[in-house]
Symmetry: C2
């Protein structure tokens, strides 16, 4: 059982880790492979302390090294689900599961989109990014899930419980793990329908569907948060003045909570959130 798991090793996550470490709490920091970070090749010139502009990618790497050099445990893995149990939180990654008393979501904000014609049009009209959130509305329907990795399998497990007709679309990718569901390996060309989605169009044909669940790559933390019933407003996770979400022990900081999408603000958030997490854990241990 960890005290705190920090999901995300950007400015907010690493700063929170550094400040927590200074209070004597050893956080576990889980971040995505740096190679997978999009949009971080831009030069940063407005964050204090660097005489020359620095690549976003390099800054993130510096932060990870900084945390490690201070003795903080940092691992590279992708979180595919976040759940609560009686003792706290269960963070499931592609490789294993971790338990903790508190969780800080500091994954930044990825504009989750799919560059396939019809995606935007039918998102929310038959296309969903979250099986746990929206699956209920598709009970016993003809469903498709798009994906090929552990996150897809995690979502598929849920969909198989609500429908006996779920087809996996790998969108041209291989499928490393076996599944008993039917699998279509075609490249998806478009999503088609009228008011709602009716078909997936691939390079080999058209497939009728009632609902499509996208589970490509790994979920965003908005997805985890949604799974737990966290209040999300305008694509920002809502937190109180202590950076705590509506779920006790679940905190969020950085771009994901909205406001200025600036490193200076994320770093500040991280520092403040660390304070709140420290207080939360202290109160919790007093009650125990």
């Amino acid at each position: 059982m960890k005290k705190v798991i920090i999901i995300g090793y950007g400015p907010a996550g690493v700063t929170a880790a550094i400040y927590l470490k200074r209070t004597g709490i050893d956080p576990l920091v889980i971040g995505k492979d740096l190679g997978a970070l999009d949009g971080y090749s831009d030069l940063v010139e407005n964050f204090y302390g660097f005489s020359e502009p620095i690549e976003g990618y390099k800054l993130i790497q510096n932060g990870v090294d900084q945390a490690k050099n201070l003795g903080i445990e940092v691992i590279t893995d992708s979180v595919i689900s976040l759940k609560q149990d009686e003792t706290g939180f269960v963070v499931k990654t592609q490789k294993k599961s971790y338990h903790s008393e508190a969780v800080l979501l500091a994954t930044g904000k990825t504009r989750q989109t799919l560059n396939i014609p019809g995606f935007s049009k039918y998102r929310g009209k038959g296309i969903s990014m979250c099986a746990t959130c929206d699956g209920y509305f598709y009970r016993r329907k003809k469903l498709a899930i798009v994906g090929c990795g552990p996150y897809m399998l995690h979502e598929l497990e849920y969909l198989n419980r609500i429908s006996a007709d779920v087809t996996v679309f790998t969108h041209g990718n291989e499928l490393p793990n076996l599944t008993e569901n039917p699998v279509v390996f075609d490249q998806i060309l478009s999503f088609k329908g009228d008011d709602k989605i009716t078909h997936i169009v691939t390079n080999k044909g058209e497939y009728p569907v009632d609902g499509v669940f996208i589970a490509l790559g790994v979920p965003s933390s908005i997805d985890f948060a949604s799974q737990l019933g966290v209040v999300v407003e305008k694509n920002n996770i809502s937190v109180d003045q202590n950076y705590q979400t509506n779920i006790e022990g679940l905190f969020a900081a950085g771009d994901i909570i909205g406001g200025k999408l600036q490193i200076a603000k994320s770093v500040y958030d991280g520092m403040q959130a660390a304070d709140s997490i420290y207080s939360f854990l202290k109160d919790k241990s007093k009650k125990a």
Copy 2:
């Protein structure tokens, strides 16, 4: 006439300058000689983005270089007074005077003290750090001013208006500028008195005094702020949610406004203060 003068080129001042520059406003940043910075040789390991601990001094230098590389005007000089006129603010340094529409105080916090026995005991009981603030209570009294540079001369000018008996104590230093006041070059050994100060004790004798004004080195921004009637609470400059003091157009950010004395917080302050200064200047130009 400058739009904004930023006093202090630490994390808050430089960050504010960078963000202002990005809005198209060219600030002038005035900071003290880096050699004069005390307490900045400590290693910084909790500010995000540096894989190895960095000397405070080096970080400040990086920040100054960063500002200059972005085309921001940064000068090294010491501010000795801050006044208001009908068009805005007059910032007087050791070398010259500058006018601006707005001022940001971001000098950090120097614990102003004097390592002479009796100083702490009689501070506020006959020893003052600000002629403009406290001079009134010492009209026509026997006064001493301790100092040797332009700041001392600035304060002396004021004291000469309220008393005909002001002696300059250089505390063993030379006096580069002439003055008509009597000058004592002795080393001060202690301040002596009963409830209040009564004597300055030097290596050559004792001098009776009613009041002693300390004007060694350069004033702190708490001193400037006091000169203007800014509300100071517990040695912190009071600001509203827009980082504005009770004087319109005078802003403050960083350690000087209190809160966490952390670089992460100063950088955040600087970013937020820049926003407010931008809005202030925009509103002002609309009215004009």
